[in-house]
């Protein structure tokens, strides 16, 4: 996926908020886990509880480091059929996930196209009406431009939409048909500014080594009491009892200057936290950031972001930065 196509990141971002865009996210991993014991293996490893859903649905979940409850990866599981699961890790974490749960790495066999935006379904409907009807966090098989695809009502933009897994050899047909249907190609730049406005975590920034789901504000991903537990449960229970030392929060600045990852957050001239992601918000037209801060810093607290010798006033705000559709 390029950083952007012809019109640039800002135009692609706005197209996703107002119309529909397509991202080639084939770089994500797909690990297929199937057969007897597949469900039990996933249940024993991941934090969320697949018993909350059924075949034909998708679930967001975490794989934790067993020793310290760091998030090794955040994952979407597509429950394809009774004993078939497509587990979708971040590309660079596919190996960690494979070693934890086994299964087959089928990443190379398919492309994945994310179709996102308020008009994603209406445009997709012109070339795949059944695909466009697959609901939020549902998974099913449907034709798109005559090609049989696996379609899930998932995404990473804060907009409605679907992700389409298409056999690799046919990916070009589906992509071209989407573009012909008025879906705007969008790149990695817009993918990052969109997920930031929606306050969705990016592994390596808001999740990763030393960061637990509780610190990232994702306690809802943890099914504490499910049968069989999950990797990292003991360490995470300890942290829950102690209370988290830091919490992921949103920051806004008044001007357009983008805060950047690794800039230090100050209160009364003392460092209290660090920015994990920051950029210009194309919809709000000012800078926004996610940062780890002491839990006691309430929404509305004024802070300073210290970056490259410039001190920028900022304020702790509730997330997401833009309303959910």
């Amino acid at each position: 996926m390029p950083l952007s196509y012809g019109e640039g990141t800002l135009a692609e971002h706005r197209a996703c908020r107002a119309n529909a865009v397509a991202f080639d996210v084939s770089h994500l991993g797909t690990v297929r886990v199937h057969g007897r014991g597949a469900l039990a293996r996933l249940q024993a490893a991941f934090t969320n509880d697949l018993m909350k859903i059924t075949p034909g649905r998708a679930q967001y979940t975490h794989l934790l480091n067993d020793a310290d409850a760091s998030v090794l990866d955040d994952i979407i599981v597509w429950w394809i059929a009774d004993d078939i699961f497509d587990v979708m890790p971040n590309a660079s974490n596919t190996h960690d996930v494979l070693s934890a749960i086994g299964g087959d790495d089928v990443t190379a066999s398919r492309a994945i196209i994310a179709v996102q935006g308020p008009e994603a379904r209406s445009r997709l409907a012109t070339i795949g009406p059944d695909a466009a009807a697959i609901g939020r966090f549902r998974v099913g098989t449907a034709a798109v431009a005559g090609i049989t695809c696996t379609v899930a009502g998932t995404g990473y933009t804060g907009e409605d939409g679907v992700e389409v897994a298409v056999p690799a050899a046919e990916a070009g047909i589906v992509w071209d048909a989407l573009v012909a249907a008025g879906v705007v190609p969008a790149g990695l730049g817009a993918r990052d500014t969109l997920r930031l406005e929606a306050a969705l975590p990016l592994h390596g920034h808001e999740l990763g080594s030393g960061i637990t789901p509780l610190q990232a504000g994702l306690g809802w991903v943890v099914a504490w009491d499910k049968d069989g537990g999950f990797y990292g449960r003991d360490a995470l229970v300890s942290e829950r009892e102690r209370g988290v030392a830091r919490q992921l929060r949103g920051l806004t600045v008044e001007g357009r200057r983008p805060p950047r990852a690794d800039q230090v957050v100050m209160v009364n001239d003392a460092p209290v936290g660090v920015v994990t992601s920051g950029n210009f918000s194309p919809m709000l037209e000012h800078g926004i950031a996610l940062a780890f801060l002491p839990p006691a810093l309430a929404v509305g607290t004024e802070v300073i972001i210290d970056g490259r010798g410039t001190q920028t006033p900022a304020r702790v705000v509730a997330t997401p930065f833009i309303p959910r559709p």
């Binding site: 950083l3 952007s4 640039g8 990141t9 800002l10 730049g189 500014t193 001007g255 357009r256 200057r257 983008p258 950047r260 950029n279 210009f280 800078g287 490259r308 410039t310």
Partner: protein
């Protein structure tokens, strides 16, 4: 890629338009394309004395931050305040409305170290 013949260029991908004893400065078409969508320009203050080659400003895009250098020594006599609300002018019109600042230069001999359009084209198309 546009590289107007009547401008001088720096190896830092800035263009310089000589207007008597003043030098109007912006970033090149090549630079704006490499930066991507510009969302913020940190303008220097009018009246600041600058040294040729020193970093005096920053341009931020959705993907990165880049330094802007003074191509010649002198005093900043004008800045493009319109960029405060419309930094995208660096992308849309890099050699026109996307100009960033004007230097009243003190040492005309520094002009000799700037590149011609031909030399700059060789640099970026190498």
């Amino acid at each position: 890629m546009q590289i107007p013949e009547d401008l001088r260029y720096s190896t830092d991908h800035e263009w310089i338009r000589i207007e008597g004893t003043r030098a109007r400065v912006g970033i090149t078409d090549y630079a704006q394309d490499a930066l991507g969508d510009v969302v913020f320009v940190d303008l220097p203050d009018v009246g600041t004395a600058v040294t040729g080659g020193a970093s005096i400003s920053e341009v931020e895009s959705t993907k990165s931050v880049s330094d802007i250098y003074a191509p010649m020594s002198g005093t900043i006599s004008e800045v493009n305040t319109d960029l405060g609300d419309a930094p995208e002018r660096l992308n849309e019109d890099p050699y026109g409305e996307g100009w960033i600042f004007v230097i009243d230069f003190t040492d005309a001999s520094q002009l000799n170290s700037l590149l011609s359009a031909t030399a700059y084209r060789d640099l970026v198309e190498g």
